[in-house]
Symmetry: none
Amino acid sequence: MQVTADQADRAVKASIKKASELGISVCIAILDSGGHLKVFHRMDGAWLGVIDVAIKKAKTSALFEMETQIMDNYSKPGADAHGIDLSNGNLMTFAGGIPLKSADGKVIGSIGVSGGQVAQDYAVAQSGESALKA
Amino acid sequence: MQVTADQADRAVKASIKKASELGISVCIAILDSGGHLKVFHRMDGAWLGVIDVAIKKAKTSALFEMETQIMDNYSKPGADAHGIDLSNGNLMTFAGGIPLKSADGKVIGSIGVSGGQVAQDYAVAQSGESALKA
Amino acid sequence: MQVTADQADRAVKASIKKASELGISVCIAILDSGGHLKVFHRMDGAWLGVIDVAIKKAKTSALFEMETQIMDNYSKPGADAHGIDLSNGNLMTFAGGIPLKSADGKVIGSIGVSGGQVAQDYAVAQSGESALKA
Amino acid sequence: MQVTADQADRAVKASIKKASELGISVCIAILDSGGHLKVFHRMDGAWLGVIDVAIKKAKTSALFEMETQIMDNYSKPGADAHGIDLSNGNLMTFAGGIPLKSADGKVIGSIGVSGGQVAQDYAVAQSGESALKA
């Protein structure tokens, strides 16, 4: 079971709404549970550099089934799996990537957001994730 | 001047409508004129393999400012620039990629579609392009 | 609107002059605002290794619209976006990359310099940027 | 012994002059004999896609010490080394890449030109090469 186009569109729409309220321009990437691109949206005014960051955040959350900032506990200098962020063509290990789950708790994809301050990106990604459940 | 998020969304929506009428599931990629991802949509049921094809078609049309099948006249075996499709991380040289232009004829981005038969992909991309002008 | 060949040549010429005064051999890369190479110059005697550093500095400044050393505030260990330098095929986050702007403040490209000490690279890049305005 | 910055600049200047006479906009890449970028110039109006083509033509000529169209005799379907153009991150095997040689016939670098018709690219590259000897 994978995130559907309808679900992804709903997540993107909610994310754009939240980002607009925050007054920021972000990229939003929705991947399926295999890490393959499902839906992507770059708001006008977002930096070109955050296209890849949003996708990599979503990839990190899809491939390791956790929020990106959790991965940091394992990947940071001195931690058990220090440097694991250099795997898989590089991971992003700060907030903004969240796994998307079905009603029964299975990972069906992920969302990655980048473009604002990190706490803002996270709030936008949470909005997107919440919209999925609605 | 670059394709806006509104224009890109309109192009994607029109492409999905056309693909649905044709009974096919495609990926639609909209890039800006620099070849950077603006909006992407994978319809439910589309092969995973066509994600990259759609993006590469759009990239080909953005970087060379021409429809992808035109590039084939130059790139095919025996043609003047045979093998140019091995440049830029590989190009796609069959129909489905179209430059997007502003009212005054400037390239502002491109659309790439993949997932159906090639003639169908082209028809879907044309629908997307037309929606931009509406 | 993008940096022109004339502007790029002027920036490179001024950079070479400054580097010569400092007695160093550098690489100078000028990109457009989409991160695409416009003009590049490797002075005789520059290390081969700094070709990529100069280009990556310029890429960092084009894609994130900021001087490279500013990015370090966000990307360094412990900072909010720690590890963002692993995005976009790797960024450079020490001084020597500067966005190039039009008279009305729009980013039209970037300059990246590498080959001397970091403070020298930065001074050379500033010379290049100033020449653009002249 | 390697192509110097002065020689490279001279080759680029002559190439631009020739391209302007032909009414085309091209990219010109000068590499050293190790295939490392020395000088690059993108004329205003050149397609973004030909940046990589010019560099790959020059790379092909530097790494195999021959004009790019000669390589085609070996790389084309049915030829002895068919598919060798897929090595080295992909080669370009149509005209526009030429080795640069010292007075005593040693390869000191290469020039690659792309942006016009293939015969035009070749003529421009030849102008660049000739300027080196002047």
